[in-house]
Amino acid sequence: MKGTRRQDALNDREIERCRRIWEVLNGGRICKIDLSEAKMHGSRTRFNETRNQVIVGADVVPGMSLDARSRMSEMACLSHELAHAERFKQGFDRPVEMPDKLRDEAEASLHASWYMPLNKNDRSCLVEDARDQLEAWLVENQE
């Protein structure tokens, strides 16, 4: 998860909150969640294909910037990573190079935007993020 998000390590209460969100998302049906890095300053939230795990980092918490990726709540952020995992399980290979990585990011956000427990804001934020990623792809592709 990029964007300008929080860097400070998560405290126990925040880690427990992530665990609950994962349960409500029913993430366990797709892959495991690894919360061991969440207490490390500057750690990143990501889906690791080799380990088939969503690793929660300090940046699971939103930051102060106004773009969708920075504003995304913990629920939306974990939904986005779960979508990566679900798409990987469905056989979608993830491009690792720019600019196509941006399209994969957009697809993951759109995929996540269909999840049931999301409220209106989270759903809109994910769709907005998909739009931002696609716009970035268009810009990169023009060059």
């Binding site: 609950r20 969100i21 409500v24 049931m116």
Partner: protein, 216 residues
């Protein structure tokens, strides 16, 4: 009833408690609001999906997890018959209306794959069957209605002597029924089985395999 998720996550007891509930004891749950009244309902993820599957709740802009109670796969492992198993609702006298509502909700929330026969089994009876053509039309009424109450009750008795409300037992009864149809296909003259031939279902499921609890 329209429902809006709040996005709030907490520890609590699910207020819905369907047979698939995972929060009968305090667990991670979320809160939703009923519309337009905005009353709060605390619910676990499983019950949220079950309420949508049952046609009771409508949650706009979201999809349910694809899940099939009982299915028949063809030799290419593609689903040809999908069966959604529910207990017959005693509070709703309009069973056909209920069936149409459940089918509609599954279509709207992407719960039915394309090109399959869809059966809604209101255990013990009636069962409603949609052909692949009508299965994808949200407002479509079922093409066939199957009344098999005596057979289903007899089969359930054979599986479990003790009366049980367990959802899985009804699914097992129906899976067994389909397995028997596959191993000993009834002929056209068999009483009450003409729907199997007239719908074209028997032809599609011949040589198929019955599976339960599938997530396509």
């Amino acid at each position: 009833m329209r429902i809006e998720p709040s996005g709030v996550v907490m520890i609590g007891v699910c207020e819905i408690q369907t047979p698939k509930c995972r929060a009968k004891e305090p667990s991670a749950i979320t809160a939703v609001w009923t519309l337009p009244g905005r009353s709060q309902v605390n619910v676990c993820r499983e019950c949220m999906e079950e309420m949508v599957r049952a046609g009771e709740w409508e949650m706009l802009q979201s999809r349910i997890t694809p899940h099939v109670d009982v299915a028949v796969l063809n030799q290419d492992s593609k689903i040809v018959l999908m069966i959604e198993v529910k207990k017959r609702p005693y509070y709703d006298e309009d069973l056909l209306g209920f069936a149409v509502r459940v089918h509609r909700n599954l279509i709207v929330h992407s719960g039915i794959p394309s090109q399959v026969f869809f059966m809604l089994a209101l255990f013990p009876s009636p069962f409603y069957l949609w052909s692949p053509e009508s299965a994808l039309i949200p407002t479509a009424r079922p093409d066939f209605m199957v009344n098999c109450e005596a057979e289903m009750l007899h089969r359930r008795k054979m599986i479990a002597e003790e009366p049980s409300e367990a959802h899985s037992i009804t699914e097992e009864v129906i899976a067994d029924w389909i397995r028997d149809i596959l191993s000993h296909p009834p002929d056209r003259n068999s009483q009450g089985m003409d729907w199997l031939h007239n719908s074209g279902l028997l032809e599609r499921i011949t040589n198929g395999t019955v599976v339960r609890e599938l997530e396509p």
